[in-house]
């Protein structure tokens, strides 16, 4: 019965496919893509979390537009929330309150929207960490790295414009700070601010302008960029971690149809469900408590959402420097933390793939990922950036932390100012050391095998730990270490004495290259590994007779006859592993 029904559906499906194919040539595309192979690793799903939370943001956002009114026309609140009854508020705030208290499911949707927006940015950040630390941005994926960075910036823009829409005290204060930042822009600051706000702050235009940007422009750009991002992933196929049989020329994993349709498709539902459950039981942005926006009111602990928090922290940590040059004011106390600093960081992040390629002189395609330890300087740079970011974030919440832990904000600001310089440097050094010692351990493993934890006493009285050869899978991973060496210094002139035109840039590349690869632990050569394997086998040779003897002693015990253990070990007495290799 059931099979017949399914085949009935299938028949309909097939005819529909034919109908479409005859018009758009779709079956050809399916034939090439339906069974596309994707590698399996949990960290490859971090980007999916970002994608899926964005879909959730879109769905819940569309719902909210049905009820939200982007207008600052004054109304008297007359809803069910008593502590605001009779207060003059804007229509935007009024509609946000109605969504929260009157529309059934409105609060849930608002909270889904806000939580998924936070999820979106967190997932982008974590996905970016994965891509950076594994070197997935290398050729051929540099362009997609840039698309991803742009997406991250757009996510921030979406978040900030949305934060301002409910027109509560927090969002208005956030806008006021933005006004202050725009005013600080040299030369055009005041005009730019008046154009953005339609005159003086706060004006009556900003909410409706941000609304258009928030629901049309920014999401439009995000959708477009996500399409490009995914098309590139599709074309280039996914990167994979090193492992047996995995090379830069293949991709090992499961086909899209059926495994990834279920896994990735299912993951969308898991993320959507998770966000919805959180939105059902964890409150976010209780706008009714903050009250309506008025430019002369503020709440202690006024903070932006987490992803803007680091800029707020930077604003707090910045010393108060303002230049007045020929009667013109340059507010470095505002410009450096909010314009220069993020500008530098974003630029550095965007050009990093090319910097690294330049320093390696590497033009190959990379599809097998680096293990973070095998690129110690890159990993250290990444950790350094994270530490830097976290310190700024802590600065953005230092008042909450000060109250919670009984600290002084003045002390915290000074501490964080120094920490911002010292801790990232420290993090760089420590991370690099850790990576290098992990490399050393990997080298030892490759050469001498895995430590089994079994200690043997040699007949000479020497103790050795028995090493076992690493298994196939681990060996493939260990051997994946790239053989990175710093670029050589370019010659200043060729043999004929003609000056090398690329000398300067070559020297710089070599310098950067030294910075990246100078300390890397040399990968053992094939011969060394082979040699090491033989040594491990030799160890086994020790072990076998020793075990035999142990057994024989047991027998002796049972038989209450004390056998005198033979002191002589077979042949390889004086030498350890190395000597033993000769005989095998």
């Amino acid at each position: 019965m059931s099979t017949e029904q399914i085949s009935g559906i299938e028949k309909k499906g097939a005819s529909a496919a034919t109908y479409v194919d005859e018009r758009v040539h779709s079956n050809s595309w399916f034939s090439r893509n339906l069974n596309k192979v994707f590698p399996d690793h949990w960290s490859f799903m971090l980007g999916e979390i970002a994608l899926y939370s964005f879909v959730v943001v879109l769905l819940s956002g569309v719902y909210l537009t049905l009820f939200y009114k982007p207008s600052v026309v004054e109304v008297i609140y007359d809803g069910p929330y008593i502590p605001l009854k009779g207060v003059t508020i804007s229509e935007a705030y009024d509609s946000a309150l109605a969504i929260s208290f009157e529309v059934r499911g409105g609060l849930l949707m608002r909270q889904i929207h806000h939580w998924s927006a936070l999820f979106f940015v967190v997932a982008i950040a974590v996905h970016m960490f994965r891509v950076f630390f594994t070197g997935a941005f290398r050729k051929p994926r540099e362009l997609n790295w840039v698309v991803g960075m742009t997406l991250a910036l757009m996510a921030l823009a979406a978040g900030f414009t949305g934060y301002s829409l409910p027109d509560d005290l927090l969002s208005g204060t956030g806008l006021r700070i933005i006004e202050g930042i725009i005013l600080a822009i040299p030369v055009i600051g005041t005009w730019a601010s008046f154009l953005v706000f339609g005159g003086e702050f706060p004006g009556v235009d900003i909410i409706s302008r941000l609304y258009g940007i928030h629901i049309l422009l920014v999401p439009g750009i995000i959708v477009g960029l996500i399409t490009v991002h995914l098309m590139m992933v599709w074309t280039q196929k996914h990167t994979q971690f090193p492992g047996p049989g995995r090379t830069d020329k293949n991709v090992v994993g499961y086909p899209l149809m059926p495994v990834y349709m279920a896994k990735a498709g299912g993951f969308f539902f898991l993320i959507f469900g998770l966000i919805t459950i959180i939105a059902g039981i964890v409150q976010i942005n209780p706008i009714w408590i903050f009250g309506p926006y008025t430019p002369d009111q503020v709440s202690a602990g006024t903070q932006p959402d987490w992803y803007i928090g680091w800029l707020d922290g930077a604003l707090r940590l910045m010393p108060n420097i303002e230049w007045i040059i020929f009667d013109y004011t340059i507010s470095l106390n505002v410009l450096i933390p909010t314009v220069v600093l993020p500008g530098l960081i974003v630029t550095a992040a965007i050009i990093y793939p090319w910097l690294e390629a330049w320093a390696t002189g590497d033009k190959r395609e990379h599809h097998v990922l680096d293990r973070p330890r095998n690129a110690p300087t890159r990993t250290a740079l990444g950790v350094m950036a994270i530490v830097f970011y976290v310190i700024l974030w802590v600065g953005g919440g230092n008042d909450i932390i000060a109250v919670g832990f009984d600290l002084s904000i003045n002390f915290m600001i000074w501490f964080l100012r120094f920490a911002l310089i010292i801790l990232p440097a420290l993090a760089f050094i420590i991370t690099k050391r850790i990576c290098l010692s992990l490399q050393r351990r990997d080298r030892d493993k490759l050469l001498h095998g895995r430590e089994t934890g079994r200690i043997l006493r040699l007949p000479t009285g020497e103790f050795i730990e028995v090493h076992a050869p690493v298994n196939e899978e681990e060996r493939a991973v260990l051997e994946s270490k790239p053989d990175d060496k710093p670029l050589p210094e370019p010659p200043e002139s060729d043999s004929a004495g003609v000056r090398n035109p690329k000398y300067k840039s070559g020297r710089r590349a070599a310098g950067l290259s030294r910075f990246l690869y100078r300390d890397t632990i040399e990968k053992p050569t094939e011969a060394e590994i082979h040699h090491g394997d033989e040594a491990i086998e030799a160890e086994d040779d020790f072990e076998a007779p020793l075990l035999e003897r142990e057994e024989s002693m047991h027998v002796a015990h049972d038989g209450s006859v004390l056998a005198k253990p033979a002191v002589d070990a077979p042949e390889t007495t004086s030498d350890n592993g190395d000597g033993g290799s000769e005989q095998s």
Binding site: V87, Q111, F119, I284, G301, D305, D399, S408, N410, F411
Partner: protein
């Protein structure tokens, strides 16, 4: 007797009786009243005496024998009973140790004793008094206007949800969620520590009532959306989405990627 009896039906008789009755009760009332007054003055004196004893024992080492203040503590002349009731009644005084700010802690005196010390300090010079029951009667008060006043005058330090906030040099505006209406009233009136004074002249009693009833309303209010994360706003929300949300999402991803036996 006979003549009196004869006149008892006289129309004036009623009047006389009423007059007599009024006189009698009035006199009695007056007599009783003087008696209570005398007793209350006596009781006040006793209370002040008791307060003085407690003050000399527990407070004078910092605030001086006559409350005139010293290097270790401010003068208490003119701070009124309200200041004492707030400082001692919230456990801020007596001070445990000198820090950036006196924290509220377990109260060391009984209500009776606090009233006594308050009476003594109030006797030094006139000052703000402890709010009356009428002051603390919040029936029919406009909570929403209290909210506006709260956001204009209080939320900048005490945070929009009254959860408190940081001030400079390790000082802070305390969390209001456990402060009684009486103590909030007294704090506004007397401006303890770094808090500015909101006297009845600039913030009338009606405004104070509205503010306190607003604080009471947000204290009692549910968090319809769920766990409020302390109502601290975006900082705790950001922490939650990293630690709670993202962790769960990553666990799900690990589950999807894990090999099955």
């Amino acid at each position: 007797m006979k003549s009196l009896a004869k006149h008892r039906r006289h129309p004036a008789a009623v009047l006389v009786v009423i007059m007599l009755g009024l006189l009698l009760t009035g006199g009695l009332y007056a007599a009783a009243n003087t008696a209570t007054e005398a007793r209350s003055v006596e009781a006040d004196a006793l209370l002040i005496e008791e307060g003085k004893r407690l003050f000399l024992e527990g407070c004078s080492s910092c605030h001086g024998l006559a409350g005139q203040g010293s290097d270790n503590g401010p003068s208490l002349i003119g701070v009124g009973a309200a200041a004492v009731d707030f400082q001692v009644g919230t456990g801020r005084m007596p001070l445990a140790n000198f820090g950036a700010q006196a924290p509220s802690k377990a109260v060391e005196y009984t209500d009776e004793q606090i009233r006594a010390i308050a009476a003594f300090v109030a006797s030094l010079a006139p000052g703000p008094s402890i709010p009356s029951a009428e002051d603390l009667d919040f029936t029919g008060v406009d909570v929403a206007r209290g909210g506006e006043l709260f956001r204009a005058n209080c939320s900048q330090c005490h945070q929009a949800a009254g959860r408190g906030g940081a001030l400079s040099n390790g000082q802070y505006a305390p969390n209001l969620m456990k402060t009684t209406p009486e103590h909030i009233w007294e704090a506004m009136l007397t401006g303890p520590q770094q808090m500015p004074v909101f006297a009845d002249t600039t913030l009338p009693p009606q405004d104070k009532k509205e503010i306190i009833s607003y604080i009471e309303s947000i204290r009692a209010s549910d968090d319809p959306g769920g766990w409020a994360l302390g109502r601290f706003g975006p900082v705790t929300e950001g922490l939650f989405v990293w630690i709670g949300g993202m962790l769960l999402a990553v666990i799900l991803a690990v589950w999807i990627g894990a090999k099955v036996r």
